[in-house]
């Protein structure tokens, strides 16, 4: 019988040479006349160990990492196919503490299955949520989602059930489901990992959404920076059509749902839902005024559900196990789990899915292992390029939407980027303004002009010019952007800028006392 070997097809693993390792293993097996079955799985999310090769044994899957092509021959010599010991041996994958300590609901299958195989998906509890959905009334499906307490994982944390309910109750001959896969927030990659590692869970979630609100067409708006995800999604969609899980007659129910992937074109602002819809309609991605809400008048003027990848990918387990099951995870008004993305200067960067409530410090040190450089972690940006920078004194904040709001920070999409003590926070604040100027859609003045002026003021501050004048000017400008911008791009750029100024005044050339005054 052939032995199953897993080498991830995840683009981060590939960026470290996974394709070359996969080829080398196939060739070496052929050379030695050994029959293996090579599966390209998603990544388990332990990226410092990628490319991580796994072998299925009687005891369970055994991991080896990080594997280089030059290690392949010695792995065969050590009989790794039967779990033989080797310097790169990590033991049973599921016993690795980083993995074992997690609570994987949305990511339950990522790294385990063949991402595009419908058969494998079903063998690992896939499409059970859809089966239940087909037996429930539309209102009951929406009720499960409402009961679960699921809030939008894209960053805004709006209750998903309320959106769905609004679309369900807005009569229209055509409605749409849009998956916002424009994961532009730097420091985040959980959407990509789902789309490359378990695309069928997203497809199932969108199908459930379509059936729940009466939409027959779905679009995945995918950023152009994810070419691997584009290919994998399209293969998975084709396979789902072939297996009768998409199309005119889903599993013989007589109900229809169609799905298409559309690519963005490198505009960060298109992650904002109204800008995204403009882009899908073939226009410049200018932000729309709200109201009307997309749930009432969205894509092509029709009622539209716009949800993030992780929100939609969390729906199948909610419909499988019930809203109550999901709600029992988490704290306060943050229910369920959040896939956290550990990035930047960390020893053990990767994907950690946990119930809300764990502290930032636990994430940075117990999982992240401290900084990669071995120097103290000085500052952490949570929630993407529009998220606040947190100093060490705030590391005990629990990861919870409300707790972050209280300290004037955002949890956002769960991206965590760590910096060691070599960082210059004034430079980072300048970068935030530059980024906003580069990506502004130009519709509202506070963002379009504010970010450009902000970049100029920050350049002066970095060069220590007229600080007495420029620091108050920066604050005044941030106030205008915060309160006067049309969307979160201009409205939240002040978060990284002002948090850097408030927590790290010394980097801006001003003393803490001066700053307090």
């Amino acid at each position: 019988m052939s032995i199953t070997v897993y080498v991830p097809c995840d683009s981060s693993a590939v960026s470290l040479g996974a394709n070359r390792v996969a080829n080398a293993i196939t060739q070496e097996a052929q050379k030695r006349g050994i029959d293996i079955k090579l599966v390209r799985n998603g990544s388990r999310g332990m990226y410092w160990l990628e490319p991580m090769v796994e072998v299925a044994t009687e005891k369970g899957r055994i991991a080896f990492g990080a594997v280089n092509t030059s290690d392949v021959a010695s792995l065969f010599d050590a009989d790794f196919l039967h779990g033989g010991s080797h310097a790169l041996s990590l033991g049973l994958t599921e016993e690795l503490p980083y993995f074992k300590k997690q609570q994987r609901l949305t990511f339950a299958r990522v790294g385990i299955t063949d991402p595009v195989s419908v058969e494998d998906y079903i063998a690992h509890d896939g499409y059970r949520g859809l089966k239940n959905t087909l037996a429930l009334s539309q209102a009951d499906v929406v009720k499960h989602v409402s009961d679960s307490g699921l809030r939008g994982r894209g960053g805004a944390a709006f209750p998903t059930g309320i959106k769905w309910n609004t679309v369900l109750n807005t009569p229209s001959e055509q409605k749409y489901i849009i998956c916002n896969a424009d994961e532009g927030d730097s420091g985040t990659f959980s959407d990509r990992m789902i789309m490359e590692g378990d695309p069928l869970v997203l497809i199932e979630g969108m199908t459930i959404a379509g059936l729940a609100v009466g939409a027959t067409q779905g679009y995945i708006y995918l950023r152009i920076e994810y070419p691997h995800a584009y290919e994998i999604l399209n293969t998975a969609i084709a396979n789902a059509y072939a297996a009768g899980y998409l199309g005119e007659n889903i599993q013989g129910s007589g109900r229809a749902f169609h799905l298409e992937v559309r690519q963005g074109a490198g505009a960060y602002v298109c992650g904002e839902e109204t800008s995204l819809m403009e882009s899908l309609e073939g226009k410049r991605g200018l932000v729309r005024f709200k109201p009307p809400l997309p749930a009432i008048s969205g894509l092509f003027g029709k009622p539209t559900v716009v949800n993030n990848v992780i929100s939609l990918a969390s729906v199948p387990i909610i419909l499988d196990k019930g809203g109550d099951f999901y709600r029992d995870f988490g704290m306060g008004r943050s229910r369920g789990t959040l896939p956290l993305q550990l990035a930047g200067n960390l020893k053990h960067p990767g994907l950690v899915e946990l119930a809300f409530g764990v502290t930032l410090r636990e994430i940075l040190y117990d999982f992240g292992g401290g900084s990669a450089t071995g120097r103290p972690i000085r500052s952490v940006q949570v929630g993407g390029p529009l998220g606040a920078y947190l100093p060490e004194s705030q590391f005990d904040t629990p990861l919870d939407y409300e707790a972050f709001t209280e300290i004037w920070a955002v949890l956002g999409h769960g991206g965590i980027v760590a910096f060691d003590d070599s960082v210059d926070m004034a430079e980072m604040a300048k970068y935030s303004m530059e980024f906003c100027a580069e990506e502004s859609c130009g519709k509202c003045t506070p963002c379009r002009i504010g970010a450009t002026r902000g970049h100029e003021v920050m350049t002066d501050i970095v060069n220590k010019r007229d600080l007495d004048k420029n620091i108050p000017l920066l604050r005044s400008l941030c106030d205008t952007m915060l309160n006067g911008s049309l969307c979160a791009l201009g409205g939240m750029t002040p978060y990284p800028v002002l948090s850097a100024l408030n927590h790290f005044p010394e980097d801006f050339g001003i003393s803490a006392e001066h700053h307090a005054a």
Partner: protein, 156 residues
Amino acid sequence: MTESNQATIQAILTELKDKKGALLPILHAVQNALSYIPPESVPTIADALNLSRAEVHGVISFYHYFRDTPAGKHTVRICRAESCLAMEGGALEHHIKEKLGVDYHETTANGNFSLEAVYCLGNCACSPAIQIDNDIHGRVSPQGFDEIIAELGASV
């Protein structure tokens, strides 16, 4: 516009123009085929979709990814986002610009490399990251970049 470009664009328009929200898929298809969107193709595209030339031009110029000049044989995209900056991405950026002798949105004189900035490749756990054509590379050191370029076999 050359005859072959004209034929390529016509074929794309015939295939895609009846899609809902067809403009972006059409522009992607044109750029995939020709490496850029020739300015002289704008009237043809506008006609097919019943749009004004200004509307089509406006869309092309809005999106960073679309280009109106031919790309080099290879396109190098450097991630400029925070996670890469936290991992010496600034030094890598400096090295690449020096090595290629071009700045962003420029192409080397021999036409081999175009250089673009990108704000996050979603490879943040393997920072710093770059993309060359469709391949993403992680934990790239300045020396690592030189090796990747050497493997491509295109002179700088």
